[in-house]
Symmetry: C2
Subunit: 370 residues, 2 copies
């Protein structure tokens, strides 16, 4: 989509104008409508989990909703303000609502896998209805525990003996988490179904249908250069990364992630927030690149790596919080609480490992870029 | 003590003979007797903890007992077999018995410090009677949590707010550990006092008094070269290190140390045993170097670093086991059990961090040595 000029004195040389933005938004809107049709055809009304097709469709819906919303944000001077400011919160509501069911399922799977690892068992837990535990939020497979280093996965020196089943505390903790997160997931499924049938959602879909044919750009947008706005998005990312405690993160086993592990605050660790923020800014930067370069650019493995680390950071952070939350269930056995404590700390170390992986990946990126 | 020859064709050039061994054993025996006298003079009969002088004296006793025993082991072909085989188990009994009190005190201090760190508190716990939490087993200060990397300690980006006191679960866990480990320490103190007053100990002291004046070497020892025996000790160390899972250990956050974190086995993690063994072999190697080179050699910072890592590994391993053990106390509150679970996992990650630090230190050693 890039309009290439060859005159180096031309300030618009290599410029990408509003046309590219319009094309991108139309394509994402079309994708949204296609996914919505597919979702309706593939039994969205079924029980939690649904068919693989309806899961894929929901994912595609979220995927395009995120991209539309992000592009409207990054390039907001070029889009009709009233329209843009009305639709963005609605798109956030759609993708947020649709994400919850998958998030609970993935969280449960992550915690059960961790419990099995911690029990020294080599068998995986029985599939709990999640067809795919990869974090495909952004079409990116989740990194596996034990493979944080970009230098390659560690070799596991000796297979641990298969103890056949979990210990009592771990089994009870697993059952408790299963109960709580499955309930949350079922509720999220109902909420998502209700949302998709609501008049609020129909209004969003109507808006997106309009977007698929006619993008409400400002009059100046057609000849405006997108690059400064994309560069500003990248700068916001870079600034936020600079503010992260990367020196600490680059020291393995710095023990920072667990520092509030026993704090009385039930809220997620405040130290995680800047990392979650960078995750969102990284996504905005990535989508802005998509607008500028379309499919002409190969996948940027550095963006992919840092994005994976931050997804893992977010997942581990939320899993750790779920374990801590479960431990507050009244009348649980001490053995259950103990297992949940070990599990919480394990996931907080995953948080720390993800920060380390991000730091490694980001440093390489900075060094490798001219 | 080294006898330097300058003729390179002389097979005994640079040889260190049995005389050096005799001198070393005499010096260590004298040190043992001096420490014993000091211990008796400084109120060894006092309550647990005792005076700083009596703690120092007990440490010096253990220190020389370990060195005598190790030298008898490494250079056993050069020492009267019957005598050596009779005294070595007795020396192990002395140093083992004397070590327990300090070990329980240090373990409690480590666990309480960890609990405070995990609670996000910046204040240290009230001194629990341990004059010095440094692991001075070998005259080496313990590495601090959070400074595993040889590149320097991480900067802690922001002071965590001082929450004033521990949360309920952490406070109860701390009180439980305090009770259990203080009891164990008091018992260890009584056991040590009984041991020092026993006829068994007096027999050991008599034997060491003989050693201080006359070392029972074999007739051939005076002209025997010590170096092959010292080299064999080093080779046993190198072989044992080679068998360690160093590739895994070199990958930060490999999650190996917690893999049996919830296993039903109350025994210490079997995966720790090879590392404990290397710790002992490293010590034998270090003492053999002392015999060969005496005080003429500067401190080997590489041996120091690897030794520190392995001390930290052992301490964290035992602290993790103590937390798991405390969690098996009947009728504890779930919040207490949860805090102990977090604490156990935290110490198991310390185990993993120590392995990483060892790997880094050892690799540098291997690369740096011609």
């Amino acid at each position: 989509m890039a309009q290439q000029h060859l005159d180096p004195t031309d300030p618009m040389a290599g410029a990408v104008t509003g046309d590219a933005l319009a094309g991108y938004l139309r394509a994402q809107a079309t994708e949204f409508l296609r996914a919505l049709r597919l979702h309706r055809e593939t039994g969205a009304g079924a029980a939690a989990g649904g068919s693989a097709e309806s899961v894929d469709a929901a994912r595609a819906l979220r995927r395009s909703a995120r991209r539309i919303s992000a592009s409207l944000h990054t390039f907001r001077p070029l889009v009709d303000t009233d329209w843009s400011e009305a639709i963005r919160p609605e798109l956030a509501w759609v993708s947020g609502t649709l994400a919850m069911e998958h998030a609970y399922a993935a969280r449960l799977e992550r915690l059960l896998l961790a419990l099995h690892r911690l029990s020294g068992a080599t068998v995986l837990p029985a599939q709990s209805g999640v067809a795919d535990i990869a974090d495909v939020t952004d079409g990116v497979p989740a990194p596996q525990k034990g493979a944080p280093s970009p230098a390659g996965p560690p070799t596991h020196p000796a297979a641990t003996p298969d103890r056949g089943n979990l210990t009592v505390g771990a089994a009870k903790a697993g059952a408790l988490l299963d109960r709580q997160l499955t309930l949350a997931r079922t509720r999220a499924h109902s909420t998502a179904l209700q949302a998709l049938g609501s008049s609020r959602f129909h209004a969003v879909a109507d808006n997106i249908a309009v977007l698929a044919s006619e993008v409400p750009l400002t009059p100046a947008a057609a000849v405006a250069d997108l690059r400064p706005l994309a560069a500003a998005a990248e700068e916001r990312l870079t600034d936020a990364v600079t503010a992260l405690p990367l020196v600490t993160a680059g020291h393995p086993y710095n023990a920072e992630a667990l520092i509030h592990g026993l704090s009385p605050d039930p809220a997620p660790h405040p130290q995680d927030a800047p990392w979650h923020q960078v995750r969102l800014l990284l996504r905005l930067h990535r989508y802005a690149r998509e607008v500028l370069h379309g499919d002409s650019e190969p996948v940027d493995v550095r963006l992919l790596g840092t994005g994976q680390s931050l997804n893992r950071h977010r997942d581990a952070s939320e899993a750790a919080a779920a374990a801590a939350q479960a431990a507050r269930t009244p009348r649980i056995a001490p053995a259950t609480a103990y297992a949940l404590g070990v599990l919480h700390a394990d996931q907080r170390h995953e948080v720390e490992a993800a920060r380390f992986a991000f730091q490694q990946c980001w440093q390489r990126q900075t060094v490798g870029t001219p």
